[in-house]
Amino acid sequence: MSATPATTTAGRGSLSAESGAARAWRWLREHTVIIVAVLVVVYLLIPIVVIFVFSFNNPAGRYNFTWVGFTLKHWSHPFSDTELTKALVTSLKLAVLATVISTIIGTMMALALVRHSFFGRRVANFLIVIPMATPEVVMGASLLSFFLILGTPSLGFETLLIAHVMFCISFVGVVVRSRLIGFDRSLEEAAKDLGADAFTTFRLVTFPLILPGIFGGAMLAFALSIDDFVISNFNAGSTVTFPLYIFGAAQRGIPVEVYVVAMILFLSTVAAMGFATWQQRRAERMTAIRPEQEEADVALPGIA
């Protein structure tokens, strides 16, 4: 801190008098926060780079932790390990089903919570948040207690699906709820004034406007489900999902294919996100009603 007055004086004096070192120091001070942020981004991305690099590794033993040599053989046969492939297929099936069910249920719940007042709304608001505030290990353990005491259904794909839908509902509900809270109700009133009934209003006005929220909630649900380890570990029985396979394999050595599959999942998510953003931008360009565009938009008069 003692250098501060010196640099400030230098800054106030004529710029040409400032020495190179002082100028560099001043630049550093002015950009500290940006430099730190860039370093944090690097920190966030390092493990992804490590996974990418090590998916080309050619380890001698069964552990893929130190670099041995470059090979393409794991990328050319990423699904050669049948156990791994089976686990991956199970995970994808589970994630798709859990996403569809929880998105429908969670969206309905969000609509009820924001759009209606009814007895027990505060309790319902609490009910939707509390699973997010509970450690996964407690959720997994309590569900296992429940299934054990009931004795049915036996642990397996069904219990996994029940568990995944359970923790996804909250996230979908909260995401859609926040979209509904920031929603301009006058658009719906306009539709009603123009003679649309409640269902038509929902179908043509409300639903398209909250669709990004529903889509975001669904993406989150899918990501959470496919990545879930803790709750699945308690409730899977003998069913093996992709994370469960990795955990099991970690004791006896990780095949490089795990890194390849993780990278494939990463790249396809990135591609899907890129596509979704592009689609959304296009849709926004086509439907955006901005004040300065109103004169030009003769085809859409009076909606705003």
């Binding site: 730190v36 942020a37 505030a133 290990v137 990463f266």
Partner: protein
Amino acid sequence: MAAAIRRRSVAYFLLFPGAFWLIVFFVIPLYFMAKLSLDTEIPGTLHYHFTWEWSNYKEALELYDTQFFRSFIYAAIATFLCLVIAYPLAYVIAFKAGKWRNLLLFAVVAPFFTTYLVRTLAWKTILADESPVTEFLHTIGLVPSGHILYTGFAVIAGITYNFLPFMVLPLYASLERIDVRVLEASKDLYASASSTFWKVTLPLSLPGVVAGTLLTFIPAVGDYVNAEFLGGANNRMIGNVIQSLYLTQSNYSAAAALSFVLMAVIMIVVFVYIRFAGSEALMGQEAV
């Protein structure tokens, strides 16, 4: 009148599936676990009967108090580190990123797209003995022993990394909501950059700080993947204990008791914290 009743029945129709699922598969299981935590095992049968066996709690806590406290300490350190690391990034994304904003937000969530366990395994490579990172920290004297892997340091590093996005996103959300004109006003009134930050920016971003610390701290306390992969025998956390009691030792009553204490303590910590921070950030905004 009829319209009001119909509207209310629509509300309950919309609410029912979600409320049903959450009550049957979240609330009732908690009740079953509470019951299980007070059961006694019929010797050698793996069958339990209910006896108000409070000693389950006492025994479990006496046996595993070290892991219990360790979990809270590791989680607290990791949460603090997350806050310190995340704030500059969230600040830059909110105020300085311009056209880079979406790309930076993408970088924040990108780790989520690699599987959690694989990400943690990658840290095993990064922190291994004689890796560049370990060598560097050893050279500058931060790690005198030259070993990071299988220490508490590695576990905290893993937790910090894995939960960082949970800190960045709420911080960003609340920083982004700040009206830039307020910050300009502070400068116009001759506040220095640092007093603008401490007196204006930080207080206004407090809801994000509260939400972020909770979203980081709660999963961090219960986490056991980092301790399993990156820690050694002396770094086991309460999550490791609960899962091994449940899944390998079949000591359900002790595990249920520990889960309950864990949840109760977290609830108390969260409650006190929210009381002090004076925010309802966790609950989200209530509908008008």
